[in-house]
Symmetry: C2
Subunit: 125 residues, 2 copies
DNA sequence: CTAACTGTATCAATATTGATAGTACACTTA
DNA sequence: TAAGTGTACTATCAATATTGATACAGTTAG
């Protein structure tokens, strides 16, 4: 299921986050489906449970899963997960929009740029 | 002119960058006006010239000033400086727009959000 | 050409942060 | 009560960021 790559410079917990996030978005892990426990996955991947904990904690902050002490961690409903992630990203964008505004960029111009960026990234659909 | 705050957790060169950038944007430093030399400002602020060098180098990358070896560093024309900075910020935004798109956000919805963020930040004008 | 200024590049020392591990605690359920 | 679960805290090691020391290279005035 998850395969770590130690040649990859990216930290373990990031790799885990990305794979789990992708599976949740893709619906390969269904809403409310139970994820492997922190310890179980740690044993399986031969790493420290704390690393899994971190991945789960951050995915929870991003809205992709929810954890219940004593019970386990579960995938969020996909739609809700996506929306939570969108909120997070929008919050990250906010200060940049503010800066562009301070630099004198007007709203129509900004929207034109954003639109161009959006459409420029469309290879697949 | 520039006053350092050692209580501030932010690095020295960031503080210098912000103050100089603000003065250039505001037009308090006129286009092509000569800035203090790396060593001169270093002596004045009682810090290492290398720290000034870094601030200048990054401000140059952002388009706010230009440096000529042997001559000095000079403020860019404000309009050009602003546009260079806008480009930088737009590049930073790009991967986030791409992610929103991958998460399923459609263009009109995105533009609506951006518009809302833009207008939300308008206290002054 | 030389001296005194300018910015630039490189390397080193230090401080800060990041990533992971070890361990103990708290909640849930059977 | 026991065995599972997530959570919190601290420690440690590595990586990065920040700053400093120093040497190099371009410009200009005399």
């Amino acid at each position: 299921m998850i395969h770590l790559d130690y040649r990859d410079a990216r930290p373990i917990y990031e790799q885990i986050k990305d794979k789990l996030r992708a599976e949740i978005i893709a619906g390969k892990i269904l809403p409310d489906e139970k994820l492997p426990s922190v310890r179980e996955l740690a044993v399986k991947l031969v790493i420290n449970p704390n690393t899994i904990q971190r991945a789960y904690r951050e995915l929870e902050a991003e809205g992709f899963l929810y954890s219940v002490a004593g019970k386990g961690s579960f995938a969020s409903a996909n739609q809700a997960a996506n929306e939570a992630r969108m909120d997070t990203v929008l919050k990250q964008i906010t200060p940049m929009i503010a800066e562009l505004r301070e630099l004198g960029m007007k709203e129509p111009e900004l929207l034109e740029h954003i639109s161009h960026i959006y459409e420029g990234g469309s290879q697949d659909d």
